[in-house]
Amino acid sequence: MAGETPSTVSQLLEALERGRCSAEELVRDCLARIEAEDGAVNSFITVDAVGALTAARAADAERAAGRAGPLAGLPIAHKDIFCTDGLRTSCASRMLDNFVPPYSATAVERLAAAGAVTVGKTNMDEFAMGSSNETSYYGPCRNPWDLERVPGGSSGGSAAAVAAGLVPAATGTDTGGSIRQPAALCGITGIKPTYGRVSRLGMIAFASSLDQGGIMARSAEDCALLLGAMAGHDPADSTCAREPVPDYRAALAMDLGGLRIGLPRHWFDATLDSAIGERLHAALGELEARGARLVDVDLPNNHLSIPAYYILAPAEASTNLARYDGVRYGHRCADPADLEDLYTRSREEGFGAEVQRRILIGTYALSAGYYDAYYKKAQQTRRLIRQDYLDAFESVDVIAGPTAPGTAFRLGEKVDDPVTMYQEDSYTLGVNLAGLPALSVPVEPLDGLPVGLQLIGRHFEEARLLAVAHRYQQLTDWHLREPPAAGGAA
């Protein structure tokens, strides 16, 4: 299989089903690709060849015995934020460089129970704080479409690994855009489900009221196949939703007659890059030509998403990251003079600059005398932002917009200026604050670089989002384009 066009999840599962290849062959092929191509991309932090081959052979045996799960033998990668029992889980931080979890995240366990084989753990921004994958302790991941450019972040390694054809699918997490923005910048499909749709147990916490795990793959159909296995209630996560999980793949065929797509006016105004806007309109035009109605909507408070998010997320992060104290696991400084020195020096050495910055901002927002002015104010604003979306969904079924303001930028271009970097998330943050599901699908590239269309749905309407994206991907083939570095034409 090596050297051929990377296949989609559904193609690979069909090949396994029909006995045209074994899980072991697929996994060996993935490992060979990673070995040959990931040196330049750096999308993996850890590759687990031994564990993957063992799991692949077990999947082959299950299939031979007629007991194969729905994803039996499918090679996937996990963002290195998901705990994997016995396999180092670093969160791309020096703090967890030595952390080998004694349990797996529920999302990891569910995908494994369905038969998926973990080939490794992908690169990311440290503790998922970033939009470029440049804050990783293990060095930046690069965009397969142009190795001088970032893959986006924080799930940059997962996006790059799928785009480069190293694995057919990978998990990601999205606190403010961390699945959708790298999916857009790398030309793949990525879905952030409704808050609480996927268990957060074993997903290393950044901002607990915003964090949500999801899937990054080539197509909406592939996302549907994996999300179904990953989602669902988990009694071990008190914020995990009890809503039943529909059959997302079956729902791809749902009737979309009369679909109303809302276009937020201020997203499509003069502030939008005109070339990006043309491509988004062309994509929406495809759906309109098949009967969808495009409707202007307003999200009058959405511009407050950046300030609200950059209080709430750091505040929650400063609390969550208080657990790293050099005592129970993770990095411990050498020869601490006393307990205070142990805490302080372990944290100073273990955390990178952006993580420390966010901890300090969060500490400020939560400190005595500032709580009402910052944290409470941001939570009140969060309600206003959510209400805008709920109001808009009274008259439309999905909302469409850009995923990111531009295409992949150059390494180093924004990393020294946090405020410029934060603008990268201006179209995605509101969705996390409102807890809504959203996905990004590739549309026509711009100057050889991918562009993403973001589709946002009502709470728990992942099925409709996936169906709309699938319809678009049946009409176009942008999602099957490959980066030149992987052997495809730009």
């Binding site: 609480g196 300030p307 901890i359 500490t363 009140q380 959510r386």
Partner: protein, 95 residues
């Protein structure tokens, strides 16, 4: 909105972080710019708006008060930097 050196030092102490003296000015600058960015919220009218902590308005679910997990102390302490007799070791705090 700017942070003074005293304020930065206090924040670092609260967060159990230490700022290298040479890094302080750049950090004050970038934190100041982030605070300027979030300052936009102060102009928002939120009179009577309830703070939103959970986007689905979920409340903490309750379960029966039963032990559901086994004792995995050894597995968890195996990854600790320093343990002895089932206890986590830290520098002496009481002389």
């Amino acid at each position: 909105m700017t942070l003074g050196a005293d304020q930065l030092e206090r924040l670092a102490a609260l967060a159990r972080l230490r700022i290298e003296p040479g890094e302080a000015p750049a950090l004050e600058d970038s934190l100041g710019r982030i605070l300027a960015l979030v300052e936009e919220l102060s102009a928002v009218d939120t009179t009577g708006v309830e703070p939103l902590a959970n986007p689905l308005d979920a409340v903490q679910p309750l379960r029966a008060d039963e032990v559901t997990e086994g004792n995995r102390r050894e597995a968890f302490q195996a990854i600790a930097p320093a343990v002895e007799d089932g206890l986590y070791l830290v520098p002496r705090v009481v002389e």
